[in-house]
């Protein structure tokens, strides 16, 4: 797929820096997130920005594994990291599932605060600068500027 930023920002020179394919099981997610964090460190991304991206990746992978693949390790989740000349970071997480209506995800602050789930998508939107869903929600594209 070709990433298509919607902000109107100039993302010239976008280059792939990391491409991961992991079996859809929870145990694989942290390792993939750590690979993304290591790649960001190599790119000399500042720590605060790197942590925000890392947590957003963690949440996107968790959604893909849990909702997109129903924790079926025979299925594969892909994660790609690209960087443009301006240092803007693009993350794309893809799962083979039917998708999910992320626009219907409620804000956790209006939910029961003691709920043990339902905060992932909200966190992604807070942590990243631009988030879009494609193919019914089975592809999430996230930019950090």
């Amino acid at each position: 797929m070709s990433p298509a930023p919607t902000s109107g920002a100039n993302h010239s020179g976008l280059r792939s820096q990391l491409s991961l394919a992991i079996p859809a099981e929870a145990e694989q997610i942290a390792q993939a997130t750590d690979a993304v964090l290591a790649c960001l460190a190599n790119l000399k991304v500042e720590e605060e920005k790197s942590m925000a991206i890392g947590l957003a990746v963690q949440e996107a992978l968790a959604n893909a594994v849990t909702h997109g693949c129903q924790n079926d390790p025979s299925k594969t989740v892909q994660c790609e990291l690209s960087c443009d000349e301006g240092g803007h970071i693009l993350i794309v997480v893809t799962d083979p599932g039917p998708g999910f209506d992320f626009s219907a995800a409620p804000k956790p602050v209006v939910q029961d605060v003691y709920n043990d789930h339902g905060r992932g998508v909200f966190l992604i939107r807070q942590l990243m600068d631009e988030v879009s869903f494609e193919r019914g929600g089975s592809i999430i594209q996230m930019w950090k500027f």
Partner: protein, 112 residues
């Protein structure tokens, strides 16, 4: 995830080390809290000084355990959460539900 548990003045101190994320880390964290709560130890101090990241599944376990502790007259108090952990809890509107301390002794004493 390293988890160290110790008891002081009828307060359970749980010290975590490592990112608190979906998978083994959150599973071990859930087991530690469930163990404390099922033993009737509802006064819990959670030392987060060495937890650089908490994801939504970790937050979920924390909130479920907080509800359980408070229902039984106890509480969960936080010690030294990292800057990013504080930022994350604030982002999801939960930071103000916790008392936050800079050291475990003060957190333990606050239960007296």
């Amino acid at each position: 995830m390293d988890i160290n548990m110790q008891r002081r003045s009828q307060v359970e101190i749980i010290q975590l080390r490592g990112p608190l994320r979906l998978g083994p880390a959150v599973n071990e964290f859930r087991q530690a809290l469930d163990q404390s709560l099922s033993n009737g130890d509802t006064r819990i101090v959670l030392d987060l000084a060495e937890v650089p990241m908490i994801d939504s599944s970790g937050i979920g376990v924390l909130m479920k355990s907080l509800a359980s502790a408070r229902q039984r007259g106890g509480n969960i108090k936080l010690v030294n959460p990292s800057k990013f952990a504080i930022q994350t809890l604030r982002m999801v509107g939960l930071l103000n539900l916790f008392e936050v301390f800079t050291d475990a002794d003060a957190a333990v004493a606050s239960f007296a």
